[in-house]
């Protein structure tokens, strides 16, 4: 637990630097600069030395991909996995599932058949080409994940007396005010040194179009601004079909809302459209990977020691059911154990690698799933998928993207909390977390939220026994000091996982890291 404690200190220190309500967004955006990936097709590894063996630690996506590709290359591969299932953080909780967290609280999930909570990854960017490649190759059906929803809400306790507003209205007003102000500045000539007169005129016309300004270059209450922000009386048919415009919000009110954070968030590479999710829950990916490597994985194997010498690697592990201690020997090792756990395992890894393993703090996200009797967000609010954001600890609520328009119970994500909110919710019992999620989420749907609630489930990643954190959160400083030491082959051992990538906290990072690691391992093995 030493590693875990130092992790927490570092994250809390980072929180102090970042400060306050902008935290969630900052954490989301600093988790890596992932835009596209470096995937150039599956590796073409072949010709492993006869009898060469690899032990893979961890049956998450990185470990399973390593096992799959190394087996194809001719290695004798076995995987040791702590849990009784494959997939790691790629995981969905369904009705009938049981989950026990650190501290001993056990949750019996009661969702209706087909409904689920994805505690870990839940969406796939279109540029995560490695993951998309293997999903297709392994038969995982993907459906659109509705990331961007103009009609969902933005809530800030410091804005509009705590009343949520539709994203579209706030974003339209932000753009309208910015356009009007910049237009005024252009007229004042103070920016003339920045551009030609022709570009100044062109920019003015662009601002008028973009910001829905009127002929006097004002952002004002009229049918034009309402076309972006929404109408007071919407257009209809027949005799009373004429629309009427809505009031615009003043600049100061719009600034209170902080909507530019969501506007910027939606432009982040990881969150740009189009995004995807597997039909039936994110855990379908882990299951599809596992089906490709039948018989390779030993479950319930808790690794306690990792020792290498010039001839090979010896992994000591105990059976979590029987307590029996075993040793597994192999020529090479791909270790995908999360750094939070690896830092607690005895090894003779190099000092540099051990320092790197200890240096990387993990995030502490909490996710809460709430099953509701019906899709009131669709029926009553015209919200189909996407997220409503808040500066409360729950961070956001997210509406299901599957089975749109269907009757019957549905599970929405009632919290995706990080930073201080994550620690606060993580410190609570599962029942208390759901109470907080119901209270805070009710700001968006006051008439329905508690009334339609059926049951909930939560995962606080700091309390997940097999990882004790969510995912690696590198900073520029830790990258500089430790990243190359972490990813370099250390004798016969190489690390892989999202923590060994620049696409941190994403499945794509785990896969790209794994492909890079096994490509180097294979080269080293052929040279050995």
């Amino acid at each position: 637990m030493q590693g875990q404690k130092s992790t927490r200190r570092q994250v809390l220190s980072a929180i102090g630097v970042l400060g306050g309500s902008a935290l969630l967004y900052n954490m989301m955006t600093t988790m890596g600069y992932a835009a596209e990936t470096q995937f150039a097709g599956p590796p073409k590894l072949s010709g492993a030395k006869k009898g060469a063996s690899v032990v893979v630690l961890g049956a998450g996506l990185a470990g399973m991909l390593a096992a799959y590709e190394l087996t194809k290359a001719g290695y004798k591969v076995q995987i040791l996995e702590y849990q009784d299932r494959s997939g790691g953080r790629n995981w969905s909780l369904y009705g009938g599932d049981t989950y026990t967290e650190l501290g001993g609280a056990t949750q019996n999930v009661k969702f209706a058949a087909g409904n689920y909570l994805n505690p870990g990854p839940w969406r796939i960017p279109h540029h995560h080409r490695a993951l998309l490649h293997y999903c297709k190759a392994f038969g995982v059906n993907l459906e659109p994940f509705i990331q961007f929803n103009h009609n969902a809400f933005v809530h800030n306790t410091e804005a509009f007396g705590g009343a949520p507003q539709r994203f579209r209205s706030l974003a339209a007003d932000f753009e309208g005010h910015v356009a009007e102000l910049l237009g005024k500045a252009l007229d004042q000539k103070g920016l003339d040194a920045e551009m030609t007169a022709e570009d100044r005129d062109r920019l003015k016309e662009a601002l008028r179009d973009w910001g829905m300004l009127d002929k006097d270059f004002k952002y004002a209450k009229n049918l034009r601004s309402s076309e972006h922000r929404g109408f007071d009386r919407p257009p209809g048919g027949g005799v009373n079909g004429a629309p009427s415009p809505s009031e615009i919000f003043g600049l100061s009110d719009v600034l209170d809302s902080g909507v530019w954070r969501q506007m910027s968030f939606f432009m982040n590479s990881e969150f740009q459209t189009t995004m995807f999710q597997p039909t039936g829950g994110m855990g379908m990916i882990g299951k599809a990977f596992a089906a490709q490597i039948p018989g390779l994985t030993t479950y319930n194997a808790k690794v306690t020691k990792l020792i290498q010498d010039k001839k090979g690697v010896t992994v000591t592990w105990s059976d979590t059911g029987t307590g029996k201690v075993n040793e597994t020997k192999a020529d090479w090792c791909v270790c995908t154990i999360p750094l939070t756990i690896l830092s607690q395992i005895e090894s003779n890894l190099s000092d540099k690698m051990q320092a790197a393993v200890a240096a990387v703090p993990y995030t502490n996200s909490v996710k809460i799933g709430l099953e509701m009797k019906r899709r009131f967000w669709e029926d009553d609010y015209a919200i189909y998928g996407g997220h409503s954001f808040t500066n409360q600890e729950i961070g956001l609520i997210s509406y299901p993207n599957n089975n749109l328009f269907k009757d019957g119970p549905a599970v929405l994500l009632g919290a995706f909390s990080s930073g201080m909110g994550g620690y606060h919710l993580g410190g609570m019992s599962p029942e208390e977390r759901i109470e907080v999620a119901l209270t805070q989420g009710s700001v968006f749907h006051p008439d329905s939220y508690r009334k339609e609630f059926l049951s909930g489930a939560s995962v606080a990643w700091s309390r997940v026994p097999w990882i004790q954190g969510c995912c690696a959160r590198w900073t520029e400083e830790t990258r500089q000091a430790h990243y190359q030491d972490l990813v370099a082959m250390d004798g016969r051992v190489v690390l892989a996982g999202e923590h060994a990538s620049y696409v941190g906290c994403w499945m794509e990072g785990a896969l790209l890291s794994s492909l890079d690691a096994i490509t180097r391992l294979h080269k080293r093995a052929l040279e050995a």
Copy 2:
């Protein structure tokens, strides 16, 4: 054809006023101010007088909804339909279908099973509540229509030497430059009269976040700006995982692209997320409506005369197969015939209504479907649904939103053309249109577009025999002069359809108009 000619003159005149490349966007945005709808649930009509009858002209959505609800209210209803099918503009073309346009050109559609072109409506906004209500009630399965795709292209012949750019890069750079410039203007104090000093400081920080400005408030080449616009070398895993930033485009280049038009377009109410399409093609809606009113429709019935007196309505029509002339009498008439056609039919409608019918020009859209051997836009360009825009006559190309990731042929929309481009393409033969679509669409996918092409189909709405135009295009002036005359009950006749709404060119407008019309008709009938 008199009406049609005057329509064209008026539209061409409007084109002159609007001018040039902004035309497509202006047409799209002025087609109505539809944001939300005025639907308040299905009407509760009942208690029709014993034996009261209604003849409905046209089996499009407006006509079928009128027949459905009036039948439920107790009326004896029959529909006369010119075509041999129901649905009207709600229509999908599949492989095996044949379509003959005005001028005589016949197309035999060759698409693979399951592929289609939607010549008319193709997407449904989340706020079109009447349509969504009846889709659910009538069992139409809806799936997401991917309207907004950051990774699709924007092409302008006058920008970047004709090279398309990703929307994300242009939009990020537009926002970055706007943020930097407004930040400078705020520093110059010229805008101090516009806001408090506190709001000025808050706005500056908002601009920094939104525009991805650096610590010196510059929009510059760095990993921060690349997070929005895309990287040069994207982040990856392992040893070489570090990303590198991309060059930013200068303000003048961004202005050349006209990207603010797309940015504004995506914020228009009709095009805000989430949008939908029926599984299997838009025509599934018309089929579902038709299934609710079995036996009510007489097909191949060309209406030639509409005469009413104090006792009832007499409709004269000829069977388009046999030429036989018939008369149908009813107490009341709901006429959903498009104004382009109604203006050519003999009637004794009031002078005011006839003037209104003649006053409304119709748009002239052209849609072209191109079937490709494979989804190269997904495999090679990471574009999943959404649109790539161009200032060429095709207007845009749009990628299919169904069967994502699937192997085999797929149909993309190769043109959605209006204005001058619509007239130009409409004047060509179907073969010539496809040639233009292939040439112009190749700017986006030069290596694949012609190579992967299998077959195409096109619909130029000015040449569609039963409407001779696409949809009604009201202006503020024509609304003022004629709208109330068009929608008012004229004796025993009431008009319905998208043309009789403020949600013009949308199915929702047809439905809302129909509900309003039959509600008034029922009230009048009970009073009569």
